[in-house]
Point group: C2
DNA sequence: AGTAATGTTTACCAATCGGTCAAATATCCG
DNA sequence: CGGATATTTGACCGATTGGTAAACATTACT
């Protein structure tokens, strides 16, 4: 049994650990910008700094690499939503959820784009995860939000669209980064824009754009 | 000169009109879900209901089809922003901008996904349009927003991020449609969700989530 | 009708794709 | 060291890719 791909109870070698990390990192880079079908094994191999057959020694197929990446992304991508605490203060919870999602867009833009690519293409590989675990989690959090609304802590509005809008605004900074960069031009300064974005989004979600009425 | 692809001052045939429409429509369908590199000419030809060489009689290369589509998308995609009127009432202008963008997401989801795919992949074909015309237009509208803010019509906030957030929230319903569908499940009823989305977004952008203070 | 231009198809090409294989090489361990 | 195991490579395969050439069919126009 000299094939790591057929590993059963077999122990994994140091080299296996390293190479698999290299491959997955390279694959994340390429998949996230070209999508599954637009990515070639040769591309991944080149970025990973190894030959194609060598890469295929660690992952039998292109699908196998993609599958591992998608599983990891899905697993970690929902962490911020899971951390959404119904015992906390609604305002603080929403603020920190926005901040956490924004941090993920900043720290893991490739993962975000991989996910975006997958969903854009009709989510062929993760549809079950969306209609299953994801939906269940969102349903649960929607109930929390509704409870907050009934208690008058936040205004009444559709909790699902609220969650969508947080996803959309935060992931935008990862998925549409080159557009953000192009439009901001000079203003796109290093990491400062994430603070700007965080400040703006928190204000938007808390108070909206209209100035507070002088009370009628 | 029997080649429509080399047409100079030549008039276009009825058949040319029809076939080009068919091809572009089919190509929009395929490109928008698989991206440029993930799309094959055969796929487009099949959806368009013709043979590959026949398709290539009208468009010399895959790039040529893609180029035409991108030009059209770019041209129409900014219409809502261009319609953003600095003479109008700020609140009404922002409301109708949101509504228009949401209508585009509803009526032209494929165009939205084509654009999203392009930007996700680093905007290789439209970078110049982003740093040029798009940036200029956004700069102009940002000034309008700043003027509104100085006049106290809307609260002070970064106008660029405001525009980004409108783009993100509205296009989300086209680009991430399958996710929206998966999460909403039963609630995803025909076209009604766009009304829900419009209602939510207008409320969010106008007033935010926190209930109005009883005035301190 | 006849003919020139336009449109379509069949057969094909070189390049690239995902993936295999056996031989060569490097590493681990007693 | 030596041998077993793990890793790497080059040469290769059939399928698919984007695109072409030329024969064939159809349309448009006088």
């Amino acid at each position: 049994m000299s094939d790591p791909r057929a590993a059963k109870t077999q122990r994994r070698t140091r080299i296996q650990e390293e190479k698999e990390v290299q491959i997955l990192d390279a694959a994340l880079e390429v998949f996230s910008t070209h999508g599954f079908r637009g990515t070639t094994i040769d591309q991944i191999a080149e970025v990973a700094g190894m030959s194609k057959p060598n890469l295929l020694y660690y992952f039998r197929t292109k699908e196998a690499i993609h599958r591992v990446l998608m599983e990891r992304v899905l697993d970690t991508w929902l962490d911020p939503l899971r951390a959404f605490d119904d015992n906390g203060n609604p305002e603080a919870e929403i603020r920190s959820y926005i901040r956490r999602k924004l941090e993920m867009a900043r720290d893991f833009p490739r993962e975000s784009r991989l996910f975006a690519n997958e969903v854009l293409q009709g989510a062929p590989y993760i549809m079950d995860e969306l209609t299953g675990p994801l939906k269940d989690l969102v349903d649960e959090k929607a109930k929390v939000i509704r409870a907050w609304q009934k208690a008058g802590k936040i205004v009444k509005c559709d909790p699902y669209h609220l969650i969508f809008s947080i996803w959309a605004t935060t992931q935008h900074y990862a998925d549409f980064d080159v557009q953000v960069k192009a439009v901001l031009g000079q203003r796109y300064s290093g990491e400062g824009r994430f603070d700007d974005a965080a400040r703006f989004l928190e204000q938007l979600f808390m108070h909206g754009l209209l100035p507070p009425k002088p009370e009628a």
